[in-house]
């Protein structure tokens, strides 16, 4: 069974469109993340939710809005897509349950390759 899954795997869209990426984890983890990996393979954190609450919100354009309907799901909605948004977006989950926990390891999904034309 896939531990962290993302849909869609590929997304090709035009500038100005709005799109969503979905992420689900069946590991029973409380914390989930969104990362962006650019063309140089550099992974940069965007957001994190712990049990549906936003805990990390990096300097990301407000066109990006995460939503966590429950602790097993974390979706990413992107408005008014721009060429520079083209990248691979990864979802990850962690057993981290609170700021005092030592279980920091993160498990990644397969990624969503977004191409904006």
């Amino acid at each position: 069974d896939t531990a962290v899954s993302q849909t869609p795997k590929y997304l090709v869209t035009q500038m100005g469109n709005d799109k969503s990426i979905k992420c689900e984890q069946n590991l029973g983890h409380d914390t989930m993340y969104w990362y962006k990996q650019d063309s140089k393979k550099f992974l940069k954190i965007m957001f994190s939710y712990n049990n549906k609450e936003l805990i990390i919100n990096e300097t990301v354009p407000n066109r990006f809005s995460p939503k966590s309907p429950d602790k097993a799901h974390l979706n990413l909605h992107i408005n008014s897509l721009e060429l520079g948004d083209s990248a691979v977006y990864f979802c990850a989950s962690s057993p981290l349950t609170s700021g005092a926990s030592s279980s920091y390891e993160q498990y990644f999904g397969p990624g969503t390759r977004l191409t904006v034309t």
Binding site: T31, K41, Y104
Partner: protein, 111 residues
């Protein structure tokens, strides 16, 4: 200067050799460290997770952390062509797991 520095490679080794990878960092508060393997067009796969200084071994993989030198290493023994991938280091001081990633080192193991 980036908080985490990692040589992008490529690092080419013959099959059976030891692969030696490392990252340096500038933030002395980092205390949680991870190593990932990423195959082309796949998600990062967690290899090793260590806390603070010391060594950790898991099969063919050994992770070392030297906090005094701000330096971490990953060694892969008896390397195989299937070990050919990009290896990413990541580290954090943040209580919510805001990890900083290195740029990744591409490893090529030749038969």
């Amino acid at each position: 200067q980036k908080e985490v520095e990692q040589d992008p490679g490529p690092l080419s080794v013959p099959e059976g050799a030891i692969v030696s990878l490392n990252c340096t960092y500038s933030n002395s508060a980092f205390q949680y460290f991870m190593w990932y393997r990423q195959y082309s067009r796949k998600g990062p796969e967690l290899l090793m997770y260590t806390y603070s200084s010391g060594n950790k071994e898991d099969g063919r993989f050994t992770a070392q952390v030297d906090k005094s030198s701000k330096y971490i290493s990953l060694f892969i023994r008896d390397s195989q062509p299937s070990d050919s991938a990009t290896y990413l280091c990541a580290m954090t001081a943040d209580s919510w797991g805001k990890f900083q990633f290195g740029a990744g080192t591409q490893v090529v193991v030749t038969p």
